[in-house]
Amino acid sequence: MPAELKQEQSPSNQTSIAMMQEPQEMVEETVTVEEDPGTPTSHVSIVTSEDGTTRRTETKVTKMVKTVTTRTVRQVPLGPDGLPAMDSSSPMGSYTDSIDRRYLKNGERFITPQASSTLSRPYNSYNDSYPESHEGQYRPYIGHDGYGDLSDSYGSLSRGVGYRPRYAYVPGGTYRPDEGSFTLPSRRDTYGPVAQPQVPVGSSVDLNRSQPERFQPEPYGLEDDNRSLGVDDEGYELDPDYSTVNRRTSAGVPERGRPHKGRGYDDPIEPEMVEERLPYLHGGYAAPLAQPERGSMASIDRLGKRSPSIDSIRKDPRWRDPDLPEVIAMLSHPIDPVKSNAAAYLQHLCYENDKIKKDVRHLKGIPILVGLLDHPKPEVHRKACGALRNISYGKDNENKVAIKNCDGIPALIRLLRKTNDMEVRELITGTLWNLSSYEPLKMVIINHGLQTLTNEVIIPHSGWESEPNEDSKPRDAEWSTVFKNTSGCLRNVSSDGAEARRRLRECDGLVDALLHALQSAVGKKDTDNKSVENCVCIMRNLSYHVHKEVPGADKYQELDAGQTTGTGSSQKKKKDDAGCFGGKKAKGKKNGDLDRNFDTLDLPKRSEAAKGFELLYQPDVVRLYLSILTESQNFNTLEAAAGALQNLSAGNWTWSTYIRATVRKERGLPVLVELLQSDSDKVVRAVSIALRNLSMDRRNKDLIGSYAMGELVRNLPSKQQRSAKNLEEDTVVAVLNTIHEIITDSSENARSLIQTQGIQKLVAISKSSQSPRETKAASHILQMIWSYKELRNALQKDGWNKSHFQSVSAAPKGSKGTAGRSGYDDSTLPLVDKSQDNEKSGSRDMIPMDELGPDGYSTIDHRDKERKYKTSDNTGDASEKEPLKNDTNRKNINRSNRASVNLVDARDIKPQPVDSWV
């Protein structure tokens, strides 16, 4: 899945600069969400693959398995078990305190110990509350049903066996979630947060998985019980809240807490389970006390409950689980509760079990499940959706294709439009998120669901209103699971190439809503969560190649004029740019050519507020991205925000000129430079490339050269170590290319490179790096430095000589440019021909992603290069890398502004707070 996501970001970069483009791939990410229905808790696993890295996080969303037990009778048992029991058992009480209070209440104290460790405090509090509310109402249904039944049964069964062991197991048991269900609606809120946090924690794949696995075994036993009770199901429906609540709870707690009750059952049935549980057992010691209670409850509940068959099954140690074909056959059973139970059981079975998923597919279970999505009964389509979510998760894309082949995607979208049940919406969007990780399905999702997802989820949850009431305050975004899932889905599909980008950009309200959500996140300083990450990634992807793909983009092309006109015009244009860079603000100033462009652009004229995709590249977004870059601690988000700036500052249309100037004016350069210290490789890479694109603006180049050189050099590997951070090759190459860019046409910047001790590192890289790309990039820089005659004295004083700068370069370049190079070296100035050759070869070397290059920049670049050559500056290689910019730069080279250069343009400085308390 990870692989799928690649592409989007990089493209933009590419356009501007070949090298830069490559890195852009940031866009791709795949997130998979899985839930296990079977287990009371639902698990959501998210797989994010970025840059080839795959991470899996599984979150347990506790979904309740709907413990159906509706029987009111239970209450009696509950009373004793839950509260009374608890009271009675003093030991338990003590446990509970330490562990989870909830459990105690239910009488499941046993479980608690385990749960406690995992559970968050909120739970405890809930637990406390439970007794009160539950006793009267909730308990009977939820807790009792699931637990009570189990426990009861257990009690009867297990007691003979010895409860303690079971309890220990129990922790792993699935049922717990059910208990969670007991919790009141309010609880949900608490749970929700809790559960989600867990997910992040689970980010490490191992952890997550481990949890799910535990659940699975136990859950089955339990789940089955629940399912069997058809009546119960209906009862469940009555209490929708429970279901949701439970889910979350379980998600948060799921692993540890749930198992307890269920375990008891399982144990008898499945000895294997016990082993797994054993680890947990430690926590479970308290359980012994509880056992008595369970027994009592169990007996009561079970008796009371319906579905005799099930009950009998449970009670009967020889009871056997239905095999897979039987379960799938039950999906078509005329009785709805059987359908829903079968679906829930399937979800449970599929959790973390690729083989079962495959078997379900082979047994033609998927079309049946998809068919159930249209079932009028919420319980049925909910369970079916849960099963599909788990089936759709994983690396086996065949399952995803199977869902698509039976028109599962439109069915899901249909259900999304129809249902208001939050749980179902979470399941639907989770399933779509999973499906969206498979490349061939992305366009299908876009075709069937883009506008629905936007209208039903993104817009309402973002807080954006297309026609805001002027009196009311803008609404904040709510980071619900549904929003997270949906944004994750769109994030994945947004990486599916130019057509996908076009569709998303033109989707009514999508860009507006995403921007509003991000602004809301910045306003609330809540920029670390997954939803924000997803939104920023979408924005980055949609920003890729805007200058080429947006309708009417050609009107804004600054280069176009130049190209059509020929070299002369292009030069003019460059001059203009230079002027812009030097002094003017982006919008206002222009020189001859620029003026023309502006006129056509009518930037200043804009009579109506920008909307839709236009918002992607309005200079206003710069502030948003910079705020995110300043505030967020999420590396993925940082990378995406930097990637967005990278994409927007690439290209040669008017808007990118504005963006580059705006970044400076908004004091974005210091923000970016600081991020060069990031511990995250990909952040450093994205920022480095962004700086390179930004330095197409002459003034930015001066600033970056003065203030970023030290950080850039620090990121280079030294002799002793690859680098302090052990950066990947791509990152090192990106940094090298950025350095190359900023010293091009700027002997001042080259001088600061020398002053930051960069030469030593560059020589080391060019001579001894294992990476041909690094070697080549470093040698390009060295050649460039040597080409500044005025610097040679200083260099020689430091003990360097020509061989350090030229031989090196020649060697790495090897076949391509060697011959020509040697000639150049002498003259310092690359010959045009040679340079061109270099360019061709160089482009490859420099940027592995040559393919990206095709964008058309290449053509531009060539021209620029030619000019450059004429001007006589750098080695051909350099020219290759920096297409348009160079020309402009050259003219400006001799600027005297230097002294005044600050990271922040003096003119742009706004009065700021002079001091701040610390």
């Binding site: 930051t756 600050n902 922040v904 400085i909 707070p913 002079v914 001091d915 610390v918």
Partner: protein, 124 residues
């Protein structure tokens, strides 16, 4: 104390160790800073050289951790826990000082009185 970017800075410095004070959820140092390379250096009332964009102590809370540790108004902060503060933005300096996971901040500061004292001692 003027300096040239990229050149080593020589100054008479004093080490000051401040133990942060917990106030509610926040750890505070009890002083405020001004300056930074993104600020207008001419507005800095404490610097001799009006092109100096360093970080200066602008206020110190009475009885606060910074005062207890000996920090004074007008001190120029050279380093924070080893991090250079002579070439940072205002916000960078603020962040460096307010790391949540650092209970203790070690500053390297210089102040004119120190500078003068040393000069006089050397002259005499």
């Amino acid at each position: 104390m003027a300096f040239v970017p990229g050149q080593p800075v020589t100054a008479v410095v004093q080490r000051i160790e401040i133990h942060k004070l917990r106030q509610g959820d926040n750890l505070i140092l009890g002083f405020s800073i001004g300056g930074g390379i993104d600020q207008d250096p001419t507005q800095n009332p404490f610097s001799e050289d009006k092109t100096d964009k360093g970080i200066y102590v602008t206020r110190v809370t009475e009885g606060g951790p910074a005062e207890v540790a000996g920090l004074q108004i007008g001190d120029k902060i050279m380093q924070v826990n080893g991090w250079d503060m002579t070439m940072v933005t205002h916000d960078q300096a603020r962040k460096r000082l307010t790391k949540r996971n650092e209970e203790v901040v070690r500053l390297l500061v210089t102040r004119q009185s120190l500078q003068k004292a040393v000069q006089q001692s050397m002259l005499s």
